[in-house]
Symmetry: C2
Subunit: 406 residues, 2 copies
C-alpha cells in the first residue's frame, strides 16, 4: 500500500513507475548480483515489468549487466549489478576548525575524501560560505573530471538548520540566521544539481544507517561527541525532523541539578557532565582550559594514553562520565525506543572506558529488565560521518525514486 505525505497529494502513473524503479534499484543494491527473474520473484512484480524497469535503469546507467550464470539447469541468467560509476554525490562537513569533503558513487564506494583546515569562528559567514563553496567546487570539478555526473551536494553544519537551509543558530561557528544554502547556490553559480544544508547530527545518523555497523536499522540514534552533544534520530526508518527542524538538541537537558556549571548558564547539563570538554578537564585537571574551540584531538589522545596506562584517576573520571552519559542515553532510550544508539565523534576513542558505565546505567534504569533495550555501540565511521551522511542524503533521494534523467 502506498502512503501519502500530506493532504492533497494524488498519485498517477509516473508515481507508480518511479516507485517500482526505486524498488528494483534498492533490491539490486542489496542483492547484487542478481537476475531479472530473481527480482520478479522477490518483489512480486511481473517478469515483463521487471524487464521494462531494468531496461529503463540500464538506459539511465544506474544498472549494468555483468556476465551470465553457469553450471545451472535451465537458461543462464544475465546478472545485474549497480553501475555506480557515472554518478557521484558530494557531502561536506563544516567544523569549527576544519572542513571535510566526501564524494560517494552510486554503489556506495568513496571516490574522494578531503580534509582542509578552516577558521570557523575567525571568518564571517560570507567568507565561510565562500570557503565552503570553493571546496565544493573543487570536489565537483574533480568528480566531473573523472567522468561522473554530480547528483547533489549537501553540507552539514553543527547547529540549528531550518528546512530552507538557513542556519538559525550555530554557536561554535558564531552564526545566527545565515542563509547558507542560498549563499552556496549563488557561489556555485546556480548548479544543475540540488544543494542542501542540514544539521551535522542528522547527516551523521543517515551515514550510520547506510554505512555503519548497524546499517539498515530502522530505529537508530546517533550522538555526536564534539564540543557539544547532539542527537540525530531515525525512527521507523525516517529521519526525525520536528516542527521547526531542530530535534535532537540533547546537549542541555539537565542530568543533575547539582552538577557542574555549563556554559549555557545552568548546572548539570548533559554537555557539562559528559561533553568532551568535561571529560578532558576531569581527566587532565592540570590542562589549561584555553577557550573552547581549539582542536581537542591532542587532549583526547592524552586521555586515551592515561586510560590505557590504567591511571586510576583517569579511569575513575571516565567511569563517572560514562554514568552521566548513560543517564542521557537512558532518556533517549525511554523516549524513543531505538534499536541501537551509536556514539560518535570523540566518544569513539573513549568508548572502551565509557561504554561499560553507560551499559550499567542503562540496565539499572530498565522498567523490566527482561524486556531488553537498545544496544549502545561506538561508531565505526571516522570523523567524516556527517560529510558521508551529506552524500548519503543525496543517494537516499535517488533510492526514493527521484532518479537522474539520462
Amino acid at each position: 500500500m502506498i502512503t501519502m505525505q500530506r493532504g492533497p497529494q494524488p498519485a498517477d502513473f509516473a508515481d507508480v513507475r518511479a516507485t517500482n524503479l526505486a524498488v528494483v534499484l534498492r533490491y539490486v543494491r542489496g542483492n547484487a548480483p542478481c537476475s531479472r527473474a530473481e527480482i520478479a520473484a522477490a518483489t512480486g512484480l511481473n517478469k515483463a515489468t521487471v524487464s521494462s524497469l531494468v531496461a529503463d535503469l540500464i538506459d539511465r546507467r544506474l544498472l549494468r549487466e555483468t556476465g551470465l550464470t553457469e553450471h545451472r539447469i535451465g537458461r543462464p541468467a544475465t546478472m545485474l549489478m549497480l553501475d555506480g560509476s557515472p554518478y557521484a554525490a558530494i557531502g561536506i562537513e563544516v567544523n569549527a576548525d576544519y572542513l571535510t569533503a566526501v564524494a560517494v558513487d552510486l554503489a556506495g564506494t568513496q571516490v574522494l575524501s578531503w580534509r582542509r583546515s578552516f577558521a570557523g569562528l575567525g571568518a564571517s559567514p560570507a567568507q565561510a560560505a565562500t570557503a565552503i563553496a570553493a571546496l565544493g567546487r573543487r570536489a565537483v570539478n574533480r568528480v566531473v573530471k573523472d567522468g561522473r555526473r554530480v547528483l547533489g551536494l549537501t553540507v552539514g553544519v553543527p547547529g540549528l538548520v531550518d528546512s530552507a537551509g538557513v542556519v538559525t543558530l550555530a554557536p561554535n561557528l558564531g552564526w545566527r540566521d545565515v542563509n547558507l544554502r542560498g549563499a552556496l547556490i549563488r557561489a556555485l553559480g546556480d548548479p544543475d544539481f540540488p544543494v542542501g544544508v542540514d544539521n551535522d547530527a542528522n547527516l551523521a545518523v543517515l551515514a550510520e544507517s547506510r554505512y555503519g555497523a548497524h546499517a539498515g536499522t530502522r530505529n537508530l540514534v546517533y550522538l555526536t561527541g564534539e564540543v557539544g552533544i547532539g542527537a540525530g534520530i531515525i525512527v521507523d526508518g525516517r529521519l526525525l525532523r520536528g516542527h521547526r527542524g531542530f530535534p535532537g538538541e540533547i546537549g542541555h537537558i539537565t542530568i543533575d541539578p547539582g552538577g557542574p556549571a555549563c556554559r549555557c548558564g545552568r548546572r548539570g547539563c548533559l554537555e557539562a557532565v559528559a561533553g568532551i570538554a568535561a571529560i578532558v578537564s576531569r581527566v587532565i585537571p592540570e590542562a589549561t582550559s584555553d577557550g573552547e574551540l581549539t582542536d581537542l584531538q591532542p587532549e583526547i589522545d592524552e586521555v586515551v594514553r592515561r586510560a590505557r596506562a590504567a591511571d586510576p584517576a583517569a579511569l575513575q573520571a571516565l567511569t563517572e562520565v560514562g554514568h552521566g552519559l548513560g543517564q542521557g542515553v537512558s532518556i533517549v532510550a525511554d523516549l524513543l525506543d531505538p534499536e541501537v544508539i551509536v556514539l560518535g565523534g570523540y566518544f569513539v576513542p573513549l568508548a572502551p572506558w565509557l561504554l561499560p558505565a553507560v551499559e550499567t546505567e542503562l540496565a539499572s534504569r530498565r522498567i523490566a529488565p527482561d524486556l531488553g533495550g537498545p544496544q549502545v555501540s561506538a561508531s565505526i565511521l571516522d570523523h567524516g560521518a556527517a560529510a558521508t551522511g551529506g552524500a548519503a542524503t543525496v543517494l537516499d533521494h535517488v533510492d526514493e525514486g527521484h532518479l537522474p534523467t539520462p
Copy 2:
C-alpha cells in the same frame, strides 16, 4: 511523489486508485461541503478522474450529494459531504478501575459513549478480556442495531503493547505478556472487522491530533496524567512506534537524583516528582496513601478546591510540581521539537496552577529565547481520550486508503 514503507513494496493501479480515493475523502472531510470541480482544482486531479473517484465513494456510501449551490454565475455545483452514517468505529479504554467505550461515525460525530466500572487488578487477564469483549460486543450490537457497519475496534491499555497486540507489561493491571488481541478476537468470535490493541498514550495522542484543540498538528506530544506518566508522540504526522513498540516511556526518567523516592526503587523520577500521586500527597499531606489504585478523583477534587481557595501550601506545592513537570516537558521539547505538548488526564483540572510553572521552566531552558518553542496546553478532550483515539485509529486507517468495500 509516492513514498514507500519498506524494501520490496511495488505499486500498481490499485494503489494509485486507493491513494486518490483517500485524497478525495480527506479533502471532503476537511472542506465539506464542496463540489467536484473544487476538489479537482485543489488536488490537481483531473475533473474526469474526480468524477470517477466521487462516484466510487458514493457507491461505497462514504460520500453523499447534498443540494446545489445557488445565486452564482455559471452552472450550479452539486455539493458533496461525508456520509458518516453507514459506518462506525469503536474504541475501548481500559483503566485500573473502569472501562470506557466510544463509537464514532465516519464524519467524526460520537454516536456512543459508555463508562462502566471494572476491577482491573482484581481480575485475571482472562476475566478482564472477557469483560472487555463483553463491553465491545454490546457496543457492536448497539451500533449494528442503529444500522451501521463496524469498521474496527481498538482497545487502549495502560502499559507496553507490542505490534501484535500482546500486552507485554501493564503494572497497574498486574499484567505480563497477555495476548489481549488474540483473546478479544476469540471472545468476539472472529469478527469481520479488524481488532487492535495499543498503548493508551498512543491512542490519546491520535485522538488529540484528530479532535483536540490543535487538531491537524503534525508534531504533537500528549502526556498522560494518570497514576503513571506516559507520552504519545506524533512526529512529522506519524505516530512514533519505536523498535519494540514502547516509545514515550517518560515516567521514570530522572528529573532530580536527590528527589523523592519512586515506587520503581530509584529517586526523582518524573512520576515521583510530578505524578498524580505525588501531587495529591504533597497538597494533602494528611491523606493516607492507601495503595495506588483507588480512584483518585476525590483527592484531585480536593486539590482543586484548595488551589481555588488560594491555600498557600497548595499553591506552593503545585508550583513546585509544575517546575518538575516543566523539566520533563523541556526534555521532550529538546529531543523531539514538537509544535504542541498537550497535558491530559488528571493534569487537565490542575492545569491552571501547573501551566505557569511549566511555561517558566520551559522558557528558562531555551537554547535561544527568540527561536520559540512548543506550546503547552491542557487537553480539551475528557477522560475518554484513549477510547476516542481507539476509534480514531480505525478512521485513520480508512483515511489512508483502506476503504470499506460495499
